[in-house]
């Protein structure tokens, strides 16, 4: 899943982050984003990653990474110990995304979350026209082997933040190489045409 992640998304995340900050990347994969943030923005990065090969890859690159499971091991990070916590396209794979999200907001002064948008028009039409669970570039797995347990749309996460009194500072929709700002006013249309949604919350 990590390998298919768009480079564009990392670029958007990097643009959201100020220079010289402390950032924790949850599910940091092979460290591509951490590397980008360190080189381009002089950000002090830390990663959390479950997969042993990815952990090794980060260590080879000299990137600090802790092998562990975000679902169960976020307690090790103290309150507000990072300026930003980044969670890239993993929220939907947790058993208890709400609990994870709460923890992220505890650890970081701000949080950046990206989600594959289940409201994207291709996803919607696949289900509507063929009556089958959609398989797309952003959602490459079939229903029986997908790690995604809690799929949601940009609109869902938007509403969720509202309900839980989480402050939405910025939402960016990504479609191929185009990005656009998402507000309440254009939510319906952006929810239809964005492949990925990136939320900056606190």
């Amino acid at each position: 899943m990590k390998n298919l992640k768009m480079k564009k998304e990392f670029k958007v995340i990097a643009d959201l982050l100020p220079n010289n900050t402390r950032v924790l990347d949850i599910g940091c994969g092979d460290g591509s984003l951490m590397h980008l943030l360190r080189i381009e923005k002089n950000i002090e990065v830390r990663g959390l990653e479950l997969n042993q090969d990815n952990v090794k890859e980060c260590i080879y690159k000299g990137l600090p990474v802790i092998q562990g499971n975000a679902e169960t091991e976020l307690h090790q990070f103290p309150d507000k110990s990072f300026d930003y916590v980044v969670l890239s396209q993993t929220l939907q794979a947790f058993y208890e995304p709400e609990k994870v999200l709460k923890n992220l907001l505890r650890i970081g002064k701000s949080v950046i979350i990206s989600i594959p948008n289940f409201g994207y028009w291709k996803v919607r039409t696949k289900l509507l026209l063929f009556g089958k669970m959609p398989v797309t570039k952003t959602l490459p797995n079939t229903w029986y082997n997908t790690p995604n347990l809690h799929m949601c749309t940009i609109k869902d996460l938007f509403n969720f933040c509202d309900e839980k009194n989480i402050i939405i500072k910025k939402v960016v929709g990504v479609n191929e190489n185009k990005t656009s700002l998402i507000r309440k006013s254009n939510l319906e249309i952006k929810n239809l045409f964005s492949k990925v949604g990136i939320f900056l919350i606190s």
Partner: protein, 389 residues
């Protein structure tokens, strides 16, 4: 086989010819006593470069010594970490300058209980002061000074070596650019202490031990010491690893002997390990070193506990644990990570999945060695750049 007395005499002759630093600076021990003008035996591998930025300090474990790799000139056996250290290995001696010192309290040339007490002119025995992990580490700092190394590229060690390393980083926060504590903890659990006590009781129950005075008679409580070593060996393997290695296999026989000889392979293994050990190690040293491990409690040394111990830490850490290690568990190692995180230190952590138990750090564990190599090599690049700036 030569008599034990003869063997020790012969070993002492050989110990005359190894590298030793005479530490003249008085060292005030945690117990309150002071030692001075004492020998610290050490060995180095590879070459220190002109910039002095390629030095790696290795701390050895309970029964280890300074002879990390190559052939140990005293025992004529392979160095204890030949799997990780040497030309072309994870810690490549073609590239790095590797240093290791025998701990004080040990028996491979550094000041220990079998040495002559300058006051009585007789071997110390139990008159030797009780030492701590902190004492061991402070003694080794003199060696870095002697070698002219201001900052190590890396310091590493497994088991008690890892404990020394954690102490080293807490006591000297600016002496190592990076550190790899492996399979260790910041204090002994009740089970750790119990196992060490079992080893000590085995030695003390041997009548030859005679309150540690066997050193005056040039003998060794070998039965007690062998049992102590057997206890250790059980704790270094995992239940699964042991089952796979030995199971219920019999030792070169078709059926039970209906006796108390070593019928099972696992018995034969333990006896072999136990009695091989008495030829190279001093029983009183086991007492002193296991005591130092039991007393070790890093959080107790600092008012704010572990977080305070690692405060202002500039060292970049990589903690490594082994999934089947029940002596220093993954949880023990993760607690170190949590403390380092809480103090804002630069820390990486990896758990190596293996059935080989605590012993894994001494074995040819590919994933472990690759991770170790990757970390040290990447740290070297950073350290060089940092020094240039």
């Amino acid at each position: 086989m030569p008599s034990l007395a003869g063997l020790f005499f012969w070993m002492n002759i050989k110990l005359e010819n190894i590298k030793k630093l005479d530490v003249t600076k008085p060292l005030k021990l945690d117990c309150g006593k002071t030692i001075k003008d004492f020998p610290l035996a050490y060995e180095t591998y590879g070459k220190l470069n002109a910039n002095k930025d390629n030095a790696i300090l290795v701390f050895h474990a309970l029964t280890g010594d300074q002879f990390v790799t190559g052939t140990n000139p005293i025992t004529n056996k392979e160095g204890w970490w030949v799997t990780a250290v040497g030309p072309g290995r994870a810690i490549d001696t073609n590239k790095y300058f590797v240093i290791c010192a025998n701990v004080i309290g040990g028996c491979m040339g550094s000041l220990g209980p079998k040495d002559i007490n300058p006051v009585t002119k007789k071997p110390y025995g139990l008159d030797f002061p009780v030492i701590t992990i902190k004492d061991m580490v402070k003694a080794q700092e003199s060696l870095l000074e002697h070698l002219g190394i201001k900052k190590l590229l890396c310091a590493t060690g497994g088991s008690m070596g890892g404990m020394q390393l954690l102490q080293f980083c807490a006591t000297f926060p600016d002496k190592a650019f990076s550190a790899v504590p492996i399979a260790c903890s910041t204090s002994h659990s009740a089970q750790n202490i119990a196992l060490n006590e079992l080893a000590r009781q085995a030695i003390m129950a041997d009548p030859v031990w005679d309150n540690g005075k066997y050193v005056l008679k040039n003998v060794q409580p070998k039965n007690g010491l062998a049992v102590a070593r057997m206890v250790g060996h059980i704790s270094y393997l995992s239940e699964k690893g042991m089952q796979e290695k030995f199971g219920r296999k019999l030792q070169e026989k078709a059926d039970y002997e209906f006796s108390f000889n070593a019928d099972f392979q696992v018995e034969s293994y333990l006896r072999h390990q136990g009695y091989a050990f008495v030829e190279r190690f001093d029983a009183n040293s086991v007492l002193y070193i296991t005591r130092a491990m039991d007393y070790f409690d890093l959080s107790k040394q600092f008012k704010g506990g572990l977080v305070e111990a690692f405060k202002n830490q500039k060292t970049k850490f990589l903690i490594i644990s082994f999934s089947s290690d029940w002596l220093y568990t993954t949880k023990d190692n993760k607690d170190i990570v949590i403390a380092l995180n809480a103090s804002g230190a630069d820390v990486s952590y990896s758990e190596i999945i293996t059935d080989k138990g605590h012993d894994s750090f001494l074995l040819d564990e590919t994933e472990f060695l690759k991770t170790l190599k990757g970390f040290i090599d990447s740290m070297y690049e950073k350290f060089k750049n940092e020094k240039r700036i």
